[in-house]
């Protein structure tokens, strides 16, 4: 990739990162020079050709619009409290005795009044419910086939129920890693959804589950594809990361799997 283009992409990523910090951490949005950043994006637009590069540019513009909104909120906030210097408020708070803080707060605090007692109507409903309710033994019996005396459960049964794992878990993990390496060597860019997609919904969930372990242990990495609900997944050598880990929930439901696989059956 030419150096000039690489620099343009880095600039777009930097803008996205800075805007995200403002959005998530509540930093002063006026620290972002919106006009300057928009001009930068405008200047470098001609260098961006591929779909992914253009998406990155659009995401940067989108994040800048969020900063403009944050600037508006910031000004409204300052106007609503008759702009008082935050550092001065903090200083006063640190110096105020606890009792004085309480006294001040009590003058500005008007708590909600609500009754937490049960009403007569609810009490009647509750009594009717109690009268209709069958004893626990008969209700549980329907699902479990009655009471069974307690007994020990053996290792094989625990494995069968998936409560504990045996060596096959690690061999499966290795198998998924090898598959990922193979896919990466042939395609270089492996889509998360296409990788986890299996012949059945159960298999898809299992592949996503196994992949999550590879990601946690650092054997694979995930990168968001801008403006798409997808990620690229790539194998890597595990490295010791000192920064705090982040979790990324990706939900998989049956409908999503059907879309991916173009129909199919459960299980």
């Amino acid at each position: 990739m030419p150096k000039r283009k690489r620099r343009s992409l880095e600039r777009a990523r930097r803008i996205i990162h800075t805007c995200r910090m403002v959005e998530e951490r509540g930093l002063n949005p006026f620290n972002v020079e919106v006009r300057e950043e928009l001009e930068t994006l405008d200047d470098q637009l001609g260098e961006l050709k591929s779909y992914e590069e253009l998406c990155l540019d659009v995401e940067a513009v989108n994040m800048l619009t969020k900063v403009v909104k944050a600037q508006k909120d910031w000004l409204s906030e300052e106007a609503s409290v008759f702009y008082a210097d935050p550092a001065f408020i903090e200083y006063k708070l640190r110096k105020m005795p606890t009792k004085a803080i309480v006294d001040v707060f009590m003058r500005a605090w008007k708590p909600i009044a609500c009754v937490e007692e049960i009403s007569r109507e609810k009490l009647v409903e509750a009594i009717e419910y109690w009268n209709r309710l069958k004893p626990l033994k008969s209700r549980w019996g329907r699902f479990t086939g009655g009471y069974k005396p307690r007994e020990y459960i053996d290792l094989e049964e625990l494995k069968r129920q998936g409560i504990i794992v045996d060596e096959t878990f690690y061999s499966d993990l290795e198998k998924i890693l090898n598959e990922l390496k193979e896919a990466y060597e042939t395609r270089r860019s492996v889509s998360y959804w296409s990788f986890i997609s299996g012949g059945s919904f159960e298999e898809t969930v299992k592949r996503a589950y196994m992949l999550s372990f590879l990601l946690t242990y650092g054997y694979a990495e995930l990168k968001k594809i801008p403006l798409r609900e997808d990620y690229t997944v790539a194998p890597r050598e595990p490295v010791e990361v000192k920064a705090p880990s982040e979790s990324l929930p990706i939900s998989i439901d049956y409908e999503r799997w059907r879309e991916l696989s173009g129909g199919g059956s459960f299980g």
Binding site: E24, R25, M96, T98, I101, F105, M106, A113, C114, E116
Partner: protein
């Protein structure tokens, strides 16, 4: 007052005062369903009745939403309580102080603060275990709201119950420990 209106105002008081959900208050659409289309008029009548006993009807609209059906209505006290009233309703004085300091600290930081930053601020005056317990309690009660990235903002209850402008003015006008 017409009898029909009196009945509706009584019904509105029941709806607003008896806690129906985990969070107190009733949504506009629930009141409309129970009281009819003129539910705002009924609330006005109820408000004037409640005023006599030191209470008021308050409305909170979600940010950037104009639709009153989505607003939450509740009853709050009209005049400030004294510390004794609050402590007798289950608040410890150090909890009130921690809540006051947390709310003021967040307002001073433009409504967003890292949880760690708030903890460090409170730990100047309270032990660590108490700070952690209090922040969790304030989140649970709706005074603070947990956002992504370990950020805390003011919760819905702080918006309803606390007069932010007044709180800041009183803090700025107060005498500090050393002065």
């Amino acid at each position: 007052m017409a009898e029909a209106m009196r009945v509706k105002a009584r019904r509105a008081a029941q709806l607003l005062l008896f806690q129906r959900h985990r969070e107190p208050g009733v949504k506009g659409w629930e009141l409309k369903r129970a009281l009819g289309r003129n539910y705002l008029k009924v609330l006005e009548v109820l408000d004037s009745e409640l005023e006599k006993i030191g209470l008021q009807v308050k409305m909170v609209k979600p940010k950037d939403v104009e639709d009153l059906d989505k607003a939450r209505f509740m009853v709050t006290v009209k005049e400030p309580l004294n510390v004794g009233d609050a402590t007798s309703s289950g608040w410890r004085i150090d909890e009130i102080a921690a809540l006051a300091a947390s709310v003021a600290f967040i307002i001073s930081k433009h409504g967003k603060v890292q949880r760690r930053e708030l903890e460090e601020f409170l730990e100047e005056k309270f032990p660590r275990w108490f700070v952690e317990y209090s922040i969790s309690k304030f989140i649970g009660r709706g005074y603070l709201k947990r956002e992504s990235g370990g950020v805390l903002t003011l919760g819905w209850r702080a918006e309803v119950e606390i007069d932010r402008k007044l709180l800041l003015n009183l803090i700025l006008r107060s005498k500090s420990e050393q002065s």
